[in-house]
């Protein structure tokens, strides 16, 4: 080949430089480079890239052979150079120095070839000279170029090698730029895909204000049909679609938003705004965030705004706060009309522009009891809403339109006592579905408050009723048995609570129970009542004392505070000759089995009800002969305070000795306690004696009641 540079060679360099501008993809760049080199500078050329971890990848091949071109190009493209060949491409890469084979010998081809087949392929290229040049760009070897001449009759010399080295610099740069550019494009695509699928709205503006990117979430949040509607609008045009307020209700301008601050180069704090879409009145809570992006020289280039939809969160928070505040108001006052007025005020303006409450009076007339409006001058009941309230009270159902919500004030299962109306008016907002649930909850709480207030005014009456329900019942007749009872309440009349007893028929027999609730006062009274009725219901349904105790245990375990109850219960089964009783204790002192004047404690000790999930309660079966008695009592008996000590179990056992019958047993205990007691007592006292009658069932029923029956003071 020629020794000096000629016109063609300069053109080739210029063309290679043009390819290096990085706008082409790697594949097209390789094609263009090989086209430039073959046939102008070589008959055969291959181009390889080297990945940063050293892997060689053949990017392209070109052969100037009219008949066998495609076949040879494909074979060369598939060809994998032998990595440790002492001459040729791998050698040039490893040494980072170009190589000239001035006249190619079969011996050299053998060294290069990876197999016999490969050797034949190389021979068929009819090479006379070859050049192997590493491609270096930005300080590293990014690829290698192999060039060959032969069929054209040309050959390479030292000057061709130097030229190839210059050319390779241009090729390397073109290849590297194309690779880089492809990587960047891939990144951009991935970024765009990510932003597009993001749940948050993303809007990117140029420094001048023009919107250059918006994702579909942005279009949704702005209530626009498509992304292009967002990108073709100006920020001011977008702003005019909404009324925007801050949390305190102040109206906001475009200049107040974080994106405007970012546009002035500031780094603004996030801002929570209430957005009302002018066209529909729909309300959304949006958190605006904006970040300015600067060029390397410090000029503002882009403003990235991210808008998060916090409507659900904000509504939930508003609802929670409203209900909490309402709950506080409702529980703090017993004047319910004043309370309802405060509730109405709480709902405005957070939930509605207007809130009114009407109550049904005696005789079914409606009376407005509360009214709140954002504007103090407008606290007048709009007439058209009275009808809605009347309907809600009549049907017991809430109803809702975009501007009005009416909910009945009712406690579950009771007729409504009034109605609460919420109206959107001046603000142009509309209600969301979740507002109906919130309104209903508010209505329920208001109804409960009204009921509480009413209950309180009737307090003395209710207290009396409650005490009545806790007083010992008149015990029923149990066929084949005689029952006697004693009940002494300790302390003040109003300080109810403590002991209970009960006797009732169940499938397969009768149950008799004595129980004791730890503590005194209203809470203990409620617990006593719950225990007695739960045990009675469970006993009647299940007919098994342990199953009934487990039910009561479960009910007690459900209470928020530790609720402990001790119980001694007896299931009286078959009567007659085979009469037996199953006796179960739960945290309770033993019962006494009395036969012919002597007494024995009975029962297996086990935990209180309400203490643990499982108590391991066990029944003791007792055979009852005619005249036998079972004596059940609460610890008030053995804990009775005397001058120096407590009454105790031993004294009780002595007291029972030689008692003639159930009535006598109870009478003896009563007398002994009166004689023993010193000072006022702190605990209730309850005793039940169950005696098996000597003969078949008769109407015999003995009951003794001490002074304490009508809540006597000790």
């Amino acid at each position: 080949m020629g020794t000096g540079p000629d016109g063609n060679r300069f053109e080739l360099l210029a063309a290679a430089g043009a390819v290096a501008d990085g706008t082409l993809l790697v594949e097209s760049t390789v094609g263009r480079l090989l086209e430039l080199v073959v046939p102008a500078f070589a008959d055969i050329a291959t181009l390889d890239s080297i990945s940063p971890d050293g892997e060689l990848r053949r990017l392209g091949s070109r052969v100037d052979a009219p008949r066998r071109r495609e076949e040879l190009e494909a074979a060369l493209l598939r060809r994998r150079p032998l990595p440790d060949a002492p001459v040729g491409l791998p050698r040039a890469i490893v040494s980072a120095e170009s190589q000239l084979l001035r006249s190619v010998t079969d011996e050299q081809l053998r060294m290069i070839a990876s197999s016999d087949e490969d050797f034949e392929l190389l021979r068929s290229l009819e090479l006379s000279s070859a050049l192997f040049v590493p491609l270096r760009a930005r300080g590293r070897t990014v690829g290698a170029l192999a060039l060959g001449v032969g069929t054209s009759g040309r050959s390479y010399d030292e000057s061709d090698l130097r030229y190839a080295e210059i050319l390779s610099g241009h090729l390397a740069l073109a290849l590297d730029n194309a690779t880089l550019s492809q990587t960047i494009t891939g990144l951009e695509r991935r970024l765009e895909a990510t932003l597009t699928n993001l749940a948050e709205a993303v809007i990117v503006r140029e420094a001048g204000g023009e919107i250059v990117f918006a994702n579909s979430a942005a279009a949704r949040l702005l209530n626009l049909g498509s992304v292009s509607e967002v990108t073709t609008a100006t920020p001011q045009q977008l702003m005019e679609l909404y009324d925007v307020f801050d949390e305190a209700g102040r109206s906001l301008e475009l200049a107040d938003l974080p994106s405007s601050h970012a546009g002035r180069g500031e780094e603004p704090d996030p801002l929570l705004v209430r957005n009302v879409i002018r066209a529909t009145g729909e309300e959304r809570w949006l958190l605006h965030k904006a970040t300015p992006l600067f060029d390397a020289d410090g000029t503002l280039s882009l403003i990235v705004s991210v808008v998060e939809d916090l409507t659900e969160v904000k509504r939930a928070e508003l609802a929670q706060r409203l209900l909490a505040e309402a709950g506080q108001e409702l529980s703090s006052s017993l004047d319910y009309e004043q309370t309802l007025q405060r509730v109405a005020q709480l709902a405005v303006p957070g939930l509605a522009d207007w809130c009114g409450i009407v109550m049904r009076d005696e005789g079914d007339t409606l009376r407005q009891v509360a009214m709140a409006h954002v504007d103090p001058d407008k606290r007048v009941l709009p007439r058209e809403f009275t009808t809605g309230a009347a309907e809600a009270i009549h049907t017991g159902r809430a109803h809702m339109t975009a501007e009005v919500i009416v909910v009945p004030l009712a406690i579950a299962g009771q007729p409504p006592i009034g109605a609460l109306s919420l109206v959107m008016a001046e603000s142009g907002r509309t209600f969301a579905d979740s507002d109906l649930a919130l309104g209903a909850e508010l209505g329920l709480r208001a109804a409960v408050a009204v009921e509480n207030a009413r209950l309180y005014t009737e307090r003395s009456e209710i207290a009396t009723t409650l005490q009545q329900s806790l007083l010992p019942p008149d015990l029923p007749e149990i066929p084949g048995y005689r029952v006697a009872s004693l009940y002494r309440a300790a302390g003040d009349q109003n300080d109810v609570g403590g002991d209970f007893y009960d006797a009732f028929e169940v499938p397969g027999g009768w149950m008799v129970v004595v129980g004791d609730v730890a503590g005194r006062g209203a809470e203990a009274a409620a617990l006593t009542s719950l225990s007695r009725y739960t045990f009675r219901t469970a006993g009647k349904l299940l007919g098994d004392p342990i199953a009934a105790l487990e039910q009561l245990n479960a009910a007690l375990r459900e209470r928020p505070r530790l609720s402990l109850v001790s119980v001694c219960c007896v299931m009286l089964g078959a009567v007659g000759a085979d009469a037996t009783a199953d006796l179960v204790l739960a945290g309770h002192p033993p019962a006494y089995h009395m036969r012919r004047g002597s007494s024995h404690p009975v029962g297996v000790f086990a935990p209180f009800l309400g203490a643990y999930e499982r108590g391991g309660w066990q029944a003791t079966t007792i055979r009852l002969e005619p005249g036998d008695q079972l004596v059940l009592y609460t610890d008030g008996v053995i804990d009775t305070v005397g001058q120096a000590e407590r009454f105790g179990e031993e004294r009780l056992a002595q007291t029972l000795r030689d008692a003639a019958d159930a009535a006598d047993t109870v009478r003896r205990i009563e007398r002994a306690l009166v004689a023993f007691a010193h000072g006022s007592q702190v605990d209730d006292t309850a005793v039940i004696a169950v005696e098996r009658l000597p003969s078949e069932p008769s109407a015999g029923r003995g009951e003794f009641r001490g002074d304490g029956v009508r809540v006597a003071r000790n």
Binding site: L562, L564, S566, G587, F608, A611, E649, G679, V682
Partner: protein, 131 residues
């Protein structure tokens, strides 16, 4: 030598109510242990004071001991405190033990389903010198 703090409170609740109940509470703390010793009666009129002592002692203790050896009388109010503390210990992960003391108190625990040898019970704590 253990560093310990000792707090003693004397209650005479019974006097105002005309009852015989009396109560003396003594709380000792070492680095990880708290021992609440009760003397007198634990019943409806006094249990709240014991409850307050336990509330104060529990703070920062890995072992909380309720020493009932000097208790003359206890009723279900006391048992309620013990069961409540037992459940709290299980939830909050500290150890709660009771030294039951007198036969009457042991009988009460037996009735409530805590037989002798139950893991709730512990031997009397070691008396620290000068504690």
């Amino acid at each position: 030598m253990t560093r310990s703090i000792r707090v003693t409170v004397q209650w005479q609740v019974g006097q105002t109510l005309g009852l015989s109940s009396h109560l003396r509470l003594d709380t000792r703390r070492t680095r990880n242990d708290a021992i609440v010793s009760v003397e007198g009666d634990v019943d409806l009129t006094t249990f709240r004071a014991v409850e307050s002592a336990l509330d104060a002692a529990r703070e920062g203790a890995t072992v909380l001991v309720l020493d009932l050896r000097e208790v003359d009388f206890m009723d279900t109010s006391g048992l309620r405190l013990v069961i409540s503390e037992q459940q709290r210990a299980e939830t909050d992960g500290y150890r709660f033990v009771v030294v039951p003391g007198s036969g009457k108190v042991q009988r009460l625990f037996e009735i409530a389903g805590f037989p002798g040898g139950h893991p709730l019970f512990a031997d009397p704590p070691m008396e620290s010198a000068g504690g």
